[in-house]
């Protein structure tokens, strides 16, 4: 069962869903307002849709110096390798937790599926090294003639779904490829039938990996903000742990901690904590250590 505190999250989720809808309007055809703005500003004749601000290919291109020219010619490609990691350095992967239509779609739909039908990997698997490994593998694959980016592009799937809603079914041709497998993995297995609905993001999103890396760097350098647990206040109820869609909260020797590599600052956990122990705090100064005698209390 989901924790009782889910009821207190309604307002927070309302704002998150508004941000998710804003993400669709900003990035996806037929709207793609942000994409149109960038293409217009750079004088690009390309059609505005999810492919223009590609969230995957530029990450692969980081390992391909001969593609740097392409990226500089089309500034929209710089969003995923400069703008989003830059934001994540100071504020965390706000794009992932609030705006990303591909991650948000599966997360919000997963709440409709009864938890007894869902795989619960939270606390059992650490997805962070797998995601970094996948990102590096994706870069290496480009040197042996493979294109893992588009085979695993959940943004294209989301664009196809949204286009179909608005009467454009041309994306159906896309299904005659590996996309059938990746759609089933993204939407079904690691999506709505995984607790939290973010299995794909947690294991296989290179844009998320890049932002997780800079978010963690920001915390290490004490820059900006991140979700932190004040251990003296924590009662050890673990409601935040059971709620976290990215499995970023784990328990080690009766102490809860947030993994900045995995956290997408959705801030659901900060809403559910009635002792205000977990909050989005400045990284300056370290959070007080939890007193051993209070460990595991309540």
């Amino acid at each position: 069962m989901y924790p009782k505190a889910y009821r207190t999250l309604r307002r927070h989720w309302f704002y998150r869903i508004l941000a998710f809808l804003a993400g669709i309007v900003l990035l996806y055809a037929p709207f793609a307002l942000l994409t149109r703005l960038i293409l217009w500003a750079s004088g690009s004749p390309l059609l505005p849709d999810a492919h223009r601000i590609c969230m995957r290919m530029p990450v692969q291109w980081l390992a391909q110096p001969w593609m740097y020219g392409t990226m500089l010619e089309q500034p929209a490609y710089l969003v995923v390798i400069l703008v989003l990691p830059g934001i994540a350095l100071f504020a965390g992967p706000l794009f992932c937790g609030w705006l990303c239509p591909a991650g948000g779609l599966t997360e919000y739909l997963s709440r409709i599926v009864p938890p007894r039908f869902q795989i619960d990997l939270g606390g059992r698997v650490n997805p962070v090294p797998i995601r970094y490994g996948f990102t590096v593998g994706m870069m290496v694959a480009s040197f042996i003639g493979g294109n893992v980016c588009c085979s695993f592009c959940n943004f294209t799937h989301t664009q196809n779904i949204i286009s179909a809603v608005f009467g454009d079914f041309t994306g159906i041709a896309y299904w005659a490829s590996f996309s059938v497998v990746s759609f089933a993995l993204w939407f079904v297995v690691l999506g709505i039938f995984t607790k939290g609905g973010r299995g794909w993001c947690n294991f296989l999103c290179p844009a998320g990996a890049l932002q997780g890396l800079t978010h963690s760097l920001g915390r290490w350098l004490r820059l900006g903000r991140s979700v932190q647990i004040e251990r003296t206040r924590c009662s050890g109820c673990k409601e935040c742990l059971s709620l976290c869609p990215t499995w970023a909260i784990s328990e080690k020797e009766d102490v809860l901690e947030v993994n900045a590599h995995a956290c997408n600052v959705c801030m659901d956990c900060t809403q559910v904590c009635n002792r205000n122990a977990i909050a989005y705090r400045p990284n300056k100064g370290t959070a007080p250590q939890r007193a051993p005698e209070t460990a595991g209390a309540n």
């Binding site: 970094y132 593998g137 294109n147 893992v148 490829s177 590996f178 497998v181």
Partner: protein, 44 residues
Amino acid sequence: MLEKLGQLAQKLGNRLHAFAFGTTVALGTVLFSQVGQTCAISGQ
């Protein structure tokens, strides 16, 4: 001291294993990605 080093080595080993698993998934996909899939923006 040795026990701590052992724990650290095990932790590192687990992470390396997971990292290698992710890399293998990506490289394994290359086999499938040859079936009718090219990049929509660069044709790669």
